[in-house]
């Protein structure tokens, strides 16, 4: 029998606000345990949560960008559960009237095929604290610094059939949220967390099978591997005539397998009810209109524009827009008068090369557009040859060093003196009569050797093209 895998995703995204969702404590990562806390986020009796304006704004922006319907009359609910990661014994979330519903996210697959992923809902909620279980003691330490950090949870319909579709969606989602500036979406740091709901059914069947929910997926690679593992496990169960148990399973990266988790609750009965502490929200048309106007140009729109306005190939535009900060860097270079294609080449080759070698993201690099533009214009103006320029680039990259100063200090400026070049050619030919003879005898390889020697004589500072033609000219003259 052929089986079909059906997958739906629940993605938690941490919003990059300065303060928590319901109090003015900082959301800064780290900090000594319980130092980013107050009576509100530690759930003291008598405190009153007050919604952060930015959380609402970011959630609505995300809802709009995912083509969702914004819930004009929206409120918060209490999700009750007893686990010490939330000291109130409930999480303030949204069940009945989430901020957005019925979104659509178009994705494109490797094959070029397109597909629309339907968003069931997007809601706002608070994050939980961190529990540290001491292996030696019969106690658990609670650090509530993360408690109350704002999240949006984005729930899709069970629209995915393959891991590739899941990854394509997550990449698209991450790009949209980063361009919106509502989250940095770093999986390693937990600001984008994804739970995968998966079931299998006989191909062609319309009914959904029993699903399991997988947690602890901390990279796209882990998600793809966990999907492959879990689909196989469920198919094997079905083929043995057993049934899948609806449960939460934890992905173990080291063991490459999923394991049933002991349930947080005896039953998934959260006894939701409207939170009386947080008054409802009325979203006005003016507010929505204002946020619609503020929506930035997204990666896809930028790609199309770069192709149209600068004649760049699709591959280049995809690389340039892969990170918001990179696209901004590119656009600033152009506004400083730099040539689009040359700038694109430098960014794709050198900038991305350095970023990946140093393991940092574009938004964290110190190099400024004006430094790159200076370098490009020095190459263009014949003051630096391309090879030297790459070395200068690598030297100034880390601290956005002074290009002019570096070139002067190291005497790297290109020598465009024809007399010096002629002298160098003469000298090299006189010292390498054998190579000259070899070339005349038909050994083309000798040409490269002679060019290299002249370049060396010029201490690498000559224009490679000029050296090439000078050597060629001299050989022709001798023939």
């Amino acid at each position: 029998m052929t089986w079909e895998t059906v997958i739906g995703l629940e993605t938690h995204v941490e919003l990059c606000t300065k303060t928590k969702i319901f109090c003015s404590c900082t959301t800064e990562f780290g900090g000594a345990p319980n130092t980013h806390c107050c009576p509100v986020c530690t759930g003291m009796p008598g405190t009153l949560p007050v919604l952060n304006k930015k959380v609402l704004e970011f959630a609505v922006k995300a809802g709009l960008a995912l083509n969702g319907e914004i819930t004009r009359h929206c409120k918060f609910d209490r999700k009750n559960y007893f686990y010490p990661d939330l000291p109130k014994a409930y999480q303030i979330s949204q069940l009945y009237l989430p901020i957005a519903r019925n979104g659509r996210v178009p994705i494109r697959l490797e094959s070029g095929a397109e597909k629309v992923v339907h968003i069931h809902e997007l809601h706002m909620e608070e994050d939980a604290g961190k529990l540290v279980h001491d292996p030696w003691l019969e106690e658990t330490r609670c650090d509530y610094n993360r408690c109350g950090v704002p999240l949006i949870e984005i729930v899709t319909e069970p629209d995915f059939r393959t891991a590739e579709e899941v990854i394509a969606y997550l990449e698209k989602l991450r790009s949209i949220l980063q361009y919106l500036g509502v989250s940095d979406c770093k999986m390693q740091e937990g600001s984008l967390r994804c739970d995968v709901n998966l079931s299998v059914r006989p191909a062609g069947s319309m009914e959904l099978g029993t699903r399991t929910e997988m947690k602890n997926l901390s990279s796209f690679k882990a998600i793809a591997r966990a999907i492959a593992y879990e689909a196989k496990r469920q198919i094997e169960l079905m083929e043995e005539g057993k049934s899948v148990v609806q449960e939460t399973r934890r992905w173990d990266e080291n063991k490459d397998a999923t394991f049933a988790m002991r349930s947080k609750e005896n039953a998934q009965d959260y006894r939701y009810f409207p939170d009386p502490d947080v008054p409802p929200l009325e979203i006005s048309e003016e507010y929505l209109e204002q946020l619609r106007r503020e929506q930035p140009e997204m990666a896809e729109e930028k790609m199309a524009r770069y192709q149209r306005e600068y004649g760049l190939p699709p591959y280049d535009t995809q690389m340039l827009t892969s990170q918001k900060a990179l696209a901004a860097f590119f656009e600033t270079c152009l506004s400083l008068g730099s040539d689009p294609k040359q700038t694109a080449n430098w960014i794709m080759g050198q900038v991305l090369g350095q970023l990946s070698a140093k393991g940092i993201e574009a938004k964290d690099m110190k190099l400024t557009p004006s430094t790159l533009v200076t370098l490009i214009s020095m190459v263009k103006g014949g003051r630096l040859n391309r090879n030297t320029a790459v070395k200068v680039f690598e030297a100034v990259f880390d601290d956005d060093g002074d290009v002019e100063g570096y070139v002067k200090a190291h005497g790297l400026e290109q020598i465009n003196d024809p007399e010096a070049l002629t002298a160098a050619v003469e000298k090299v030919f006189a010292a390498n009569t054998q190579s000259v003879a070899d070339f005349k005898a038909g050994k083309e390889k000798a040409f490269g050797f002679l060019v290299g020697q002249v370049m060396r004589e010029m201490k690498g500072k000559a224009d490679p093209q000029a050296v090439n033609s000078a050597v060629r000219k001299k050989l022709n003259a001798e023939r």
Binding site: N52, E139, P279
Partner: protein
């Protein structure tokens, strides 16, 4: 809705409560009364009436996203029945 002792047991588990026999009987009777009052309310025709989640006509209560100093940890931890100088301590709770 009939409140059975099984239902009370289930709600007790969800609420992390351990009523003894006597309490269970009392709670069952009390819950029965409360829930039967809901039946009185349910008898009303509420067709076309929006559910009321807040008594006061207050909406859009929002604050600026501006950081204010957090509470002094030492003071905060005074509320912990068990704690050390850094954290709240609870009986071991492993997922």
């Amino acid at each position: 809705m009939k409140i059975t002792e099984e239902l009370v047991d289930y709600v007790a588990i969800l609420s992390r409560l351990k009523p003894d026999e006597e309490e269970r009987a009392r709670i069952t009777a009390e819950l029965e009364k409360i829930v039967s009052y809901m039946d009185v309310l349910n008898a009303l025709d509420t067709e076309g009436i929006e559910p009321l989640s807040h008594v006061f006509p207050v909406k859009n209560v929002l604050r600026e996203d501006a950081v204010e100093p957090s509470f002094l940890r030492e003071e905060l931890l005074k509320n912990a029945p068990v704690g050390d100088e850094e954290a709240f301590l609870v009986p071991k709770a492993v997922e």
